[in-house]
Amino acid sequence: MGELRLLPEQASTIAPEVDHLLYFLLVVSVFFTVAIFGAIFYFAVRYRRRSEQELPNPVHGGLTLEILWSVIPFGLTMVMFTWGASIYFTEARPPGDALSLYVVGKQWMWKLEHLEGQREINELHVPLGRAVKLTMTSEDVIHSFFIPAFRIKQDVLPGKYSTIWFKPTKPGRYHLFCAEYCGARHSGMIGWIHVMEPQEYQNWLTGGAAEGTLASSGEKLFEGLACNNCHHADSSGRCPTLVGLFGKTVQLAGGGMVKADEAYIRESILQPQAKVVAGFQPIMPTFQGLVTEEDVLRLVEYIKSLGAKAAPEGTPTPGGVPAPKR
């Protein structure tokens, strides 16, 4: 049997925030539990029945008391609400300079992809002190990406991108769990997060035998799937150019606008008819079934790299830092 701990390790910037909220919740709960248990115990002893015929005077209630014990708890719950919500907002908004990574979940493994092209299974290496943002999707059922030491969790859905971010604060090895029941080996869908000193992380990155960056394998796919037959560097012909697309606001046929983010690009590839660009015909074929989620990620990453004029064709930037997009 392992050693007995009461709290998980604190290894991200969010972790202490969640723990502080826990302490507040505990103090309030212990107070009320002790008060109620104490009152019951005291009344039960003090007013125990002394004779079978005993008949106490009826007391029917008191408005002041009712108001007091509704309003005070309500006030306390609003503190809990606000506190919880503010952490949730922090969790939902990755910092702008976050390192970007991709996660694909499938029964029953985690596939993790670095922009530099490193692919990992059930392991993820990240540098200490650097915010990391994960864009995640699933190839089959719903999974959930959960790192207890970071106090974060996010469901990973098929047909959709979800994101999660964290900033590790302590080097070490931490559990990665799948928290959403996903079938037979759900409890085997686990892995490790390795938080490394930045230098160590650099060595790890360059040491791995990556077959080119994500963007460059995306480029190969782009040619292999003949996307480039239609999409050119300029909007010549009947197809929009994809250069500079990422982050742009796209005008849609039939009115409406959409921001070209990862989810939009993914949808454009798998369900091109869902949102048609204004001024173009819906002639793009769907690639559903022809590409895997990982292929889509590569294409997305390639198209993102087309936006960054400074780093054409997704050249890897030193330090594993993707060149600023948009």
């Binding site: 049997m1 007995l4 701990r5 709290l7 998980p8 925030e17 969640v18 826990l22 919740l25 309030v28 709960s29 009152a39 019951i40 009344f43 039960a44 007013y47 125990r48 029945r49 015929q53 005993e54 106490p56 005077n57 009826p58 007391v59 209630g61 008391l65 009712e66 014990w69 708890p73 309500f74 719950t77 809990m80 609400f81 506190w83 919880g84 919500a85 952490i87 922090t90 969790e91 089959d140 059922v141 719903i142 959930s144 207890p148 030491a149 974060i152 969790k153 859905l157 047909g159 559990h175 799948c178 928290a179 959403e180 029941y181 079938g183 037979a184 080996r185 759900h186 409890s187 559903q288």
Partner: protein, 540 residues
Amino acid sequence: MITAAVQEREHYLNASYGIKSWLLTKDHKRIGLLYLATITFFFFLGGAFATLIRVELLTPQGDLVSSETYNKLFTMHGVAMVFFFLIPAIPATLGNFFLPMMIGARDLAFPRINLLSWYLLVLGGLLSLYAMLAGGVDTGWTFYTPYSTSYSNTWVIATALGIFVAGFSSILTGLNFIVTVHRMRAPGMTWFRLPLFVWSTYATSVIQVLGTPVLAVTIILLFCERVFHLGIFDPTRGGDPVLFQHLFWFYSHPAVYIMVLPAMGVISELVSVYSRKPVFGYHFVAFASVAIAVLGFLVWGHHLFVSTQSLYAGLVFSFLSYFVAIPSAIKVFNWTATLYKGSISYATPMLYAFGFIGLFTIGGLTGLFVAALGFDVHVTDTYFVVAHFHYIMVGGTIMAYLGGLHYWWPKMTGRMYPEGWAKLSALVIFLGFNLTFFPQFVLGYLGMPRRYHVYPPEFQVLHVLSTAGASVLAVGYVIPMIYFIWSLRYGKVAGANPWNATGLEWQTASPPPAHNFDQSPVVTHEAYDYSTVLGEVEVG
């Protein structure tokens, strides 16, 4: 001989004999007993699954059963306990038996429909049982898509249809209760003279009638998706798996209140009788039941804080969830205040009531934890949530159910249960319960996900504690089973009103005559006026 005297008088149990007189009965009391037998079966079935789960979790490796079997065990545990035990438990047994009596009626408004409801529950139960025996189902009792629709190759449809059929049992019972409370109250039984058990059962019925059809629709959609691949929930066909979660919780969150509101009603009765005082703040407790029923429909999204629901939806659902906490808190405070300057007896049902208030307080307070967005992100889908809802369902509902069963047992059977054994088992259950589920709060915060067959070794100590507690708890549940049966023959004869209670059900013989009352009661007092049963007033 006393026994002879009991047997001579005609009552609902000896009014007619034979299997047919039970299977075709329209007497709400007999139907209540039919339900009692049915749900007791499912309780011990669900308990058997739980036992296997707890034994498997003694070690981090999966050594007792395979992963596939383990997944079926927790699914069938949930299905049996939620749909075939907890939801019908208090309303369909104690409610069926006592709701008409408490308002001075001879039966429910629709006795035949009442019998039909029981048959529907049995039919649904048999369907689900068939699925369990034929091979089981492994989706979790929550049936999340697209796993349940496109991936699981177990008995999803049969199980879901069983639940679908049982749902109609629940709807019809609710309907029957609503009409009964509106139309069949005895002369003088105004709304604010109703015992609080009737108020809370009434509120529950409203949820049953409004919420359960949504479950039925959800199951139909699940069926269509699985059989005809319509693309409602399947993203590869343009569907949305999260839609299922919305539909499912739109029913299943209010279902929590179907399970716990009647329990609260029982506690109101017990706290009053065993302290001989009217429930403090009667009106507040009554309206709290209604408030819970209404607000319960507005918070389903708190189950989806990490399901890619929008940030602002999360905000609204968290905010509204805190509103439900207030009426629940009001009840706890009022029960506690009822004890003040009372005449408190330590009879077994009161021990269960104390246990309920304590455990429900912990369950409710940890509900405040999981309603806090940032906190829930960490603990959702972990043992923290498992512990939280078992404190409400097992620590709350089952404690109240057992308390109510002991309280009304003399009325139902004409016999007393053995007090010493009963006190002992109440204590065993309380201790066993806490030992089982308290460690799970710690486990969950440490990060142990739920529905894990194998787990990292550092969680083992807490799992061993939990399994030890579960063994104690199992013993605690078996003892009453034995002495209740024993008491049918050997229990002390109870008399009409052994507790000096004020409810109309106590103003008639035990067991009651087939038509409940020899003369139709006329109500002249508010509920819980103990001077009507105890004569002269003594200052306590």
